[in-house]
Subunit: 539 residues, 2 copies
């Protein structure tokens, strides 16, 4: 096929379907030590499979990529490696030596592709580094990583058993196991893996609405009375996003007051339910957070469940962050009452160290999830297949195609066993206890709330010497508000460690340390506080 | 740490934090030829990184995994390999020799983990096989695969520049390039990668609503008049899912009639808009499909755009499947008028061969996407960071954490150039032309609609000899309805090839052949028809 033409979008071509070289003896191969396909000639992409004779260059290329990746893995766990090599957006956009983000009409050689891979990792952030504490999802589990590599090699889709038989069954078995751990009798119920905790929380609101007002599916929100939802002022913003997206409106999401540890005050829920009813609204849904994002607080589920039963409301537990604690006999009591929830969000990609993305929405009542979402598309969910089509679970989702998020998690569970997850969680909570004990009462530190944290979140201010002795007041607050951003910026520029900060309510910027990284040790905690003190001493 | 205790959930442990072996000389290493950590002793997972001295076993383990994966890749492209080794759900659940899906409390050895990886692939479906034609997403691009391996190794999250600097910039540049190709001036506008076409389509409905009725975000659907949406009766079911989820109600999604090729009839839209207005409804949103799922039909965008302008409605183009044709100068005319759309869904994971998942929602007007979704969570989107925080784009999403879907696509674009995507698309359309020409008028075949297909979808019935000469009527219809499912079942059992089938409207089950696999050749098309005839001859 040959075509020469000009184009609306500004590119042109003279297309030959490339033929692979016929004489393979002319190739120079240096696997693992720097690969060249032929001397002085950049290697085009179309020598790879499915090209005829593409096997050898494909294997060589993939092994070169793996060499880059394994070196990255090795260095990520080496504390002498920086967590990041910070550059501003404009610097990366202008192009770093040999690394150009712009896309072009013409192909690059495979050698350049390997350089692009190396550079992409070089200018990124090592989220698996033992001193990366910036997010709730940290660490790099080798089994989970292998699982992801396999998942992308299998490159399939979760909507039908037909094209994902093994993964569909793994999902069903794993969800059942998670429901058993929640405490639902015989692990009965339903669930699905979704593309993250925000979507899982959105599912919970949708299915609650379907349970109470199924006609909304066909007639829309105008078929329902004015519905109101409740969640803690400390809860994740995804509940608010769901309220907006699903047509409730954020004003109909009522925020509940918390105690000074960030836990919902049940009496406040009841008062607000009564008030909403008096205003003619219908209270429908309560979100209890199990492990809040900033404080790591666990709402009192039993007391909220009592109120939900009394007023006939759906109880959702957002355990995106705290759900992992269900795996620990020592810490699962913090979710006491979770078995009374109607639905639970639980993200193995957070506290359980599973690579991103891996989030489950679990539902106590079977049938409501598919009732809510099914549309019975004929081209996917044919009833006349030769196998038991109850395994075609895709119609339960708001998605059509759905990424395989289960395999890495299943494989990690196989490799660690339930006890391995427990050990990981207990270790992270031990480490956060160590940090809390270390800085509580230490000069220059002030805790954001009193008492032992419930999760691995340790929230604190660091007060540089120049601020410590200032009298309390607006000036001190303003100065302190700038400390955490400044230390964080210096940290990122030196690339030594990363930890989050934010304000909360009337509290000025403070550090939120979280530990979910299995690579972290006490020495890394010591390093973090030393680094904060080093970078902050002159502020 | 040692703990012996009993548990609510039935597991127990005696936890020792494992120490790696101190004498590495005792290890037997057989990289690439079958790896054993030590003789006769299964290797526990905790010998891997981050364990002290875990580097060597980690590298060995990862290379063993890669050996499994590269063998899988090699065999996937070998036509003598089966597409699948079919088993019923109950067979896999009962356990195949050495492959047990159940999860347990205790860890498995690394050797068993490798067996699990091999078996997972063995009982799965080879979606990259040159004879896998079952879905819109097929093929296994080696560069895309490398990109996914790197993405999972980087294991980060798209919400902030802080932790995904390179990926965030790649996303911005790639989206801009896509907008340029759509034809929006200077590539201006907005967009985001989402977890699939259904979610991208859901975004389009959300932002249309926000554009016309921004108060719905805060006050809910009751603040808006009764809104109606329009889409083709041939459109993807995700538009219906979005109508249900977002609170419009599926009854307020009005289905448009199509011509016999499955293209919307513009006059039907206008008539239904007028009718809806007469009933007191507010027409708000029109979805034009560019490449329908079954017929591959392209709705006439210009004519729909005229009506949308006249009645002030949002025009969305669902190019999940057909968007890729924009890369081809020969075929992009089928989306003529797409530059007049307010938003476009375009899934590189379909026609462009990018590994799953990779779907973009593109929006012509800047600001409406973030206006619609932003909630300004303080713990993520701090305004006082040291870099330009306009690059923290996560608040535009309905998600919080968001998987890195961009890298594999960016890397493929680098490797292929724009012209490489064009070549791929032209080749697939050439192949479908070959199939169409081959079976049109051939004995035993009947086309579902007349004329050359617009996309690679070729829809046809195969009539076994025993049915061919039957008089038209109910009996023939009933027999014919059973043919495709039966052939498909036999195909899956023999494992030789896979193609989809479904009914549509009053049409009984027919085959829908689609070609997006770069590995497919004319000989594979010939194989498919031979196989249909072989398996179907005695039905």
């Amino acid at each position: 096929m040959t075509a020469i033409c000009f184009c609306l979008t500004g590119f042109w071509c003279c297309c030959h379907w490339a033929q692979p070289p016929t004489d393979s003896s002319s190739h120079k191969r240096l696997p693992w030590t720097g690969w060249e396909f032929s001397q002085n000639q950049p290697t085009p992409r179309h020598y790879l499979l499915p090209a005829k004779n593409g096997e050898e260059p494909t294997m060589q290329f993939l092994l070169e990529v793996v060499d880059i990746l394994t070196n990255y893995v090795r260095k990520t766990f080496d504390r002498s490696t920086k967590v990041l090599d910070f550059h501003h957006p404009h610097q990366l956009l202008e192009g770093m030596e040999g690394f150009n983000l712009e896309l072009s009409d013409q192909p690059e050689s495979l050698e350049q592709i390997l350089v692009d891979c190396r550079d992409t990792l070089k200018y990124g952030v090592r989220t698996g580094h033992p001193r990366f504490f910036n997010q709730l999802s940290t660490g790099l589990d080798i089994i989970g990583l292998s699982g992801e590599w396999l998942t992308s090699t299998a490159n399939t889709n979760m909507f039908t058993y037909e094209i994902a038989p093994v993964f569909v069954l793994m999902e069903q078995l794993t969800l059942k196991k998670m429901r058993e751990i929640i405490g639902w009798p015989d692990g009965e119920g339903d669930g699905i893996f979704s593309p993250g905790g925000a979507i899982s929380n959105m599912y919970s609101v949708m299915i609650a609405r379907y349970k109470f007002f199924p006609e909304v599916k066909t007639k829309g929100m105008t078929a329902a009375p004015r519905l109101v939802l409740f969640t803690s002022e400390h809860s994740h913003y995804s509940i608010k996003k769901a309220s907006a997206a699903l047509g409730f409106g954020t004003e109909n999401l009522i925020l509940l007051s918390t105690d000074e540890r960030g836990r919902v005050i049940p009496a406040d829920l009841e008062a607000k339910v009564i008030d909403a009813k008096a205003r003619g609204c219908v209270p429908m849904f309560v979100n209890a957070t199990a492990g809040s994002t900033v404080y790591g607080a666990f709402d009192p589920i039993h007391e909220l469940a009592d109120i939900c039963e009394k007023y006939n409301m759906w109880l959702h537990v957002d355990g995106a962050w705290g759900g992992g604690l269900l795996m620990s006999r020592k810490h699962r009591h913090k979710l006491c009452g979770v078995e009374r929830a109607n639905s639970v969000t639980w993200n193995p990609h957070k506290m359980m160290g599973v690579p991103l993305q891996c989030s489950a929405i679990l539902v106590r009542e079977r049938g409501v999830l598919s009732g809510c979402n099914s549309m019975c598309a004929g081209y996917l969910f044919q009833p006349d297949k030769q196998y038991d089509v109850s395994y075609d679970t895709g119609d339960k989702a708001i998605q059509c195609g759905r990424h395989v998020d289960i395999f890495k998690f299943w494989l990690m569970w196989k490799a660690k066993g339930t006890i391995g997850f427990e050990q990981h969680i207990d270790k992270c909570l031990d480490l956060s206890h160590y940090l809390y004990t270390k800085i509580k009462g230490r000069e220059g530190y002030q805790m954001v709330f009193d008492g032992e944290p419930q999760h691995t979140n340790v929230c604190f201010w660091y007060l540089p010497p120049g601020i410590r002795d200032m009298p309390d007041g607006q000036e001190k607050r303003e100065k302190l508000h700038k400390v955490a951003p400044k230390i964080k910026a210096l940290m990122m520029e030196s690339g030594t460690t990363m930890v989050g900060y934010q304000p909360q309510g009337d509290k000025v910027n403070f550090f939120r340390m979280v530990i979910s990284n299995p690579a972290a040790t006490r020495s890394d905690i010591d390093f973090l506080t030393d680094e904060i003190e080093r970078l902050g001493q002159d502020l």
